[in-house]
């Protein structure tokens, strides 16, 4: 008689309150929001970082090298814990400096910033490699047409480097979706922590963790389909290799 309790019945996954399906789906929505936000922040940092590393002055280059090396060498979990506490503390100290009362940092925003900071280091390296793969003649030609840096970036560098960057960037997106699970450790209620709470309340750990696993897997598989489409679009007009 013990086994059915542990396996749980599928009624536990119902959407309305006696079931926990709605809680899981809300957790999934939070996870995806953070993953998307963090990925976008990371991409912005990455574009800036890649340009700094390639065209910046010597001091900027060294600082960026420190950033990417250190962030990539320390476990994401440690970075998330450190940045989460330090980040909210610094914000509050700055607020205190201006005489404002301390504010409660929104967990969602903190998660996005933290994931974005970590992702930025990886994006920097991916984009730097992709920009370096552009034939220098293309950039020289654009410069000789007197294009400013902004126009050069928008018209020449970003479109040409995209096919080279997509494999690395899509990998980073998949990592971002999985890294959001680490926010569970600092008590932020995204999919993984919601799952554990559901399991703790009903003792049907196995059922809930399997369902959450299927949700994550669906995100990964659907992303892979989408990535393949983007890849085909970005590679149009490129010579077919293999």
């Amino acid at each position: 008689m013990g086994a059915p309790v542990a396996m749980g019945s599928l009624e536990l996954l119902a959407f309305s309150p006696p079931g926990w399906g709605g809680v899981l789906l809300r957790g999934l929505a939070t996870s995806l929001t953070i993953a998307f936000g963090g990925y976008s922040v990371g991409l912005l940092i990455g574009i800036g970082g890649a340009f700094g590393k390639l065209y910046g002055g010597p001091v900027l280059r060294d600082l960026l090298a420190c950033y990417t090396t250190i962030v990539r060498a320390i476990p994401e979990l440690v970075l998330i814990v450190l940045l989460y506490y330090a980040g909210s503390d610094i914000v509050n100290q700055v607020l205190a400096l201006f005489g404002s009362p301390p504010m409660d940092i929104n967990g969602l925003v903190a998660g996005i910033v933290v994931i974005g900071f970590v992702q930025g280091a990886y994006s920097t390296e991916v984009l730097r490699g992709a920009i370096k793969a552009i034939a220098p003649g293309q950039i020289e030609a654009a410069r000789s047409y007197a294009m400013g840096p902004g126009l050069l970036l928008r018209r020449i560098i970003l479109p040409i480097m995209l096919p080279h960057a997509i494999p690395g960037l899509s990998n980073l997106w998949l990592i971002a979706t999985k890294d959001t699970a680490l926010l569970a450790v600092i008590g932020f209620s995204e999919l993984t922590l919601a799952t554990r709470q559901a399991g703790g309340a009903t003792k049907a750990y196995f059922l809930f963790f399997c369902s959450a696993g299927i949700l994550y897997l669906l995100v990964t598989l659907l992303s892979t389909v989408g990535i393949r489409r983007i890849e085909r679009h970005a590679n149009r007009g490129m010579p077919d290799v293999g």
Binding site: V5, P58, I70, A73, K178, T180, L217
Partner: protein, 256 residues
């Protein structure tokens, strides 16, 4: 080496040294001597988990990659499915699924309670080792698949022309060449594995991350232990990279 020490680097290094000195003098480090032994034990546990799970995971990754290239179709699909599931879900979820999920199923099966395995199944570390091993195998299995598939066909043909049986061919030619091709990626995978090890602290295994968490709880010092932890992982990663670079330089390659 002289080109490494440009003037701006010296200034940056001085600033960095100043920051380190500021951190060392102005922050609270009084707890360090009390937890010296615990920290060393934690680092040792982390390294032990890293080495054991990477080794076991690699052993498991070899058949995973092989059956995807040459195995019967059901086995190949099974192996591919395993790699997809491992790579498509967060490691933390896998770890909790094994620890909480299996942990909630086992006590209800009386046969397991009576078996000799029970004392181990009640501990946390077997679940940690299992989860990290499977994770490493999933990621490295994909690499091994590429390595097995990428061996020039002529080499295998030559082996067959010498009358080698399939197993001899695998043992003498295919496997050594595939492992050699996969070795350069091993560095990155092992560093990733090191960065995955602190997750085991969430299921009560006492690695270096767990020791630091305990220090923070005991002393109410928030940042200093985390900074030290970052430094420890930075050093461990650096040491791993140096070791792998040493071995990579010793493997002769044509396009080196």
């Amino acid at each position: 080496m002289t080109s490494w020490l440009k003037p701006h680097r010296i200034v940056l290094l001085l600033i960095a040294a100043g920051l380190v000195a500021l951190v060392a003098t102005s922050m609270r480090w009084y707890w360090l001597p009390n937890y010296y032994g615990a920290l060393l034990a934690g680092i040792w546990k982390t390294l032990l988990i890293l080495v054991v799970t990477s080794f076991l995971g690699f052993l498991f990754a070899v058949p995973l990659g092989l059956v995807q290239v040459t195995g019967p179709r059901p086995l190949a699909m099974l192996s591919q499915g395993f790699c997809t599931i491992i790579r498509g879900t967060p490691l933390l979820l896998q770890l909790w699924l094994l620890y909480y999920g299996l942990g909630s199923l086992f006590p209800q099966i009386p046969q397991i309670r009576d078996s000799f395995l029970w004392p181990y199944l009640r501990e946390a570390w077997p679940y940690a080792v299992l989860a990290l091993t499977l994770s490493f195998a999933g990621y490295e299995g994909e690499v091994m698949r590429g390595a097995f598939a990428g061996i020039p066909y002529g080499e295998l043909e030559a082996a067959r022309a010498y009358g080698m049986k399939p197993f001899t061919m695998l043992r003498r030619i295919w496997l050594p060449r595939a492992v050699q091709r996969a070795l350069p990626t091993l560095n990155g995978e092992v560093v990733l594995q090191l960065k995955a090890t602190p997750l085991v602290a969430t299921i009560t295994v006492i690695d270096v991350y767990a020791v630091i968490s305990k220090i923070r709880q005991d002393t109410y010092v928030i940042y200093e232990p985390l900074l030290l932890l970052s430094l420890i992982y930075l050093c461990l990663t650096g040491i791993l990279v140096v070791i792998f670079r040493y071995f990579e330089n010793r493997i002769p390659t044509l396009n080196a």
